[in-house]
Symmetry: C2
Subunit: 351 residues, 2 copies
Amino acid sequence: MSMTDTLRLTQTVQKGGCAAKVSATELRQILGQVKFPPQKSDILVDGSLMDDAAIIKINSELALVQTIDFFTPIVDSPYLFGQIASANALSDVYAMGGTPQTTMAVLAFPLTVFSQKVIADVLQGACDKIAEAGATLVGGHSIDDDTLKFGLSVTGYVHPDRVWSNAKAQVGDHLILTKAIGTGTATAALKRSEVTESEIKAELDSMAQLNKVIHLFNSDELSAVHAATDITGFGLSGHLVQMARACDKKFVLSFSKIPKFENTFKFLEAGFLTKAHRTNADYVRSEIEVGQLSNVQQQLLFDPQTSGGLLLAVHPSQSASMVEKLKLTFPFTSIIGEVKTASDKRLEVSL
Amino acid sequence: MSMTDTLRLTQTVQKGGCAAKVSATELRQILGQVKFPPQKSDILVDGSLMDDAAIIKINSELALVQTIDFFTPIVDSPYLFGQIASANALSDVYAMGGTPQTTMAVLAFPLTVFSQKVIADVLQGACDKIAEAGATLVGGHSIDDDTLKFGLSVTGYVHPDRVWSNAKAQVGDHLILTKAIGTGTATAALKRSEVTESEIKAELDSMAQLNKVIHLFNSDELSAVHAATDITGFGLSGHLVQMARACDKKFVLSFSKIPKFENTFKFLEAGFLTKAHRTNADYVRSEIEVGQLSNVQQQLLFDPQTSGGLLLAVHPSQSASMVEKLKLTFPFTSIIGEVKTASDKRLEVSL
């Protein structure tokens, strides 16, 4: 057995997964200094409302959905890392109501540290998820780098009139979340060698699961989806505040309804946190009202997700049937709150 | 003046630009172990022939051209690095006969090393080149990383019947190269602090120049373009061998016709080489015949280009008028050789 066969990927990097994301605050400060190219009329959605992906209209029946995502290992198994990184990148297309079509690989790795087999396994995990999504791999770019990074640039198709923006939630909509929260603290525990991959299997399976839901719904249900996003690095609170801002609404959550993994509170109480827990808290501090929540409970809101679930704002007439269908493939699915008219806070969480 | 104002980008990384590319040989060995998703009928060109970008057919009049490229700094000025990285990524769309439409940024940088201004300058260089290309920036992904990396995922449009593949060069075609060779050795000299940016201005200007040529030609000239590629990390020899393989032809070059910068031989003679000079030589060794060329002359063939020129295989009836037009914006443009029937070697270079 060579050195690289026993190498744990998470021990080769300082920060893993969406926790390695540049904070939203810092990114805004940088982007505020840049003069962007003039936007064109065929761009229906760009980055200005912090949407998950851009929408580019091709004709009256077809638009492109484009997104890119990549990160350092959050798990030790190369195949699993490839699966999760790909599910995470593909998710932004699903979050816009699109179907992934083509992907290109973003790959950086230290040639001298990893065997070719490790890299091939990462790519195989990716290819298997891309195939499951019904998409193809059409290219990519690889560089010799100090730490492993992997992800995908993804292009999907969507009907231009059926885009799930994050700006159109309506007062009274139910907020459906399809996956449990808690992958951030679980992967922090793994990185610190406090748990093994088998002890956090539920979290790993969840991260590897594609957010492929659109085929589950009938046309009434699809019309009931007013807005959608996926929950990733900015945590449940960060992505909900972004959506509430984009819609100019207030979101009200019932904390007890937020699905979490069996381990989640144990890990949060043990203090398995990342830098992103803090930056995610900073990001929403002035716009969130957490009332009676304990510090540990608040950390659940700030927990950075990698390949987290979809958050759908849905007309209340359809939410029950949609949850029932979703539960067959996404057992943690829950209505966690609803949309209210805007007030001084964007997000209110009660026990 | 803060630390970061005096930071030279090239001194923050070990390997810069296309020289940091994973070698073609290694990449092939890794990809050979991976089972890829099933290809779909709408994919007209994928990575199997080492083309510059993928082509995805949307309808009888429109296809997408998709590519991704990113790397570590090869120059010290952040704005210039953003320009060069973007011109390099956009080039793959031009090399397929396409026009760039949308871009997404690939950004990795150490939050603690660089000021926000440095990153904003990189992005501004990118945005200015994207605007010059008539494209837009629709998104991106940034991570906290040990070294700066920047690049773009690019989608362009092309008519499906007017794609410049690299597989269709015909016997008798003239091989036109639009930019001088020598950026690899020049940036190696810069990295070793043997020269300043002002001493290699010709090389830097060349790397920042967009490979936008299609609008220069009339329809007869456009029809005369049988195959095209851009010359990047694998060097002139590597990209020519790839194209000759794809076409199943032999390419014959006249060494004296290959355009180079004023400094190029001086730098090569001084031994300003990169790891890629060696891997590029290894890559083509069995398929190239260099006859009387000295070792230094051979290094010119292996010099890894960043944002190098286009190589067009063109029917001889149109090559003279095309060179004349190209020279107005690409003064180094030259007919460097021609296409012959296949024999035991893919590339022959005579003095």
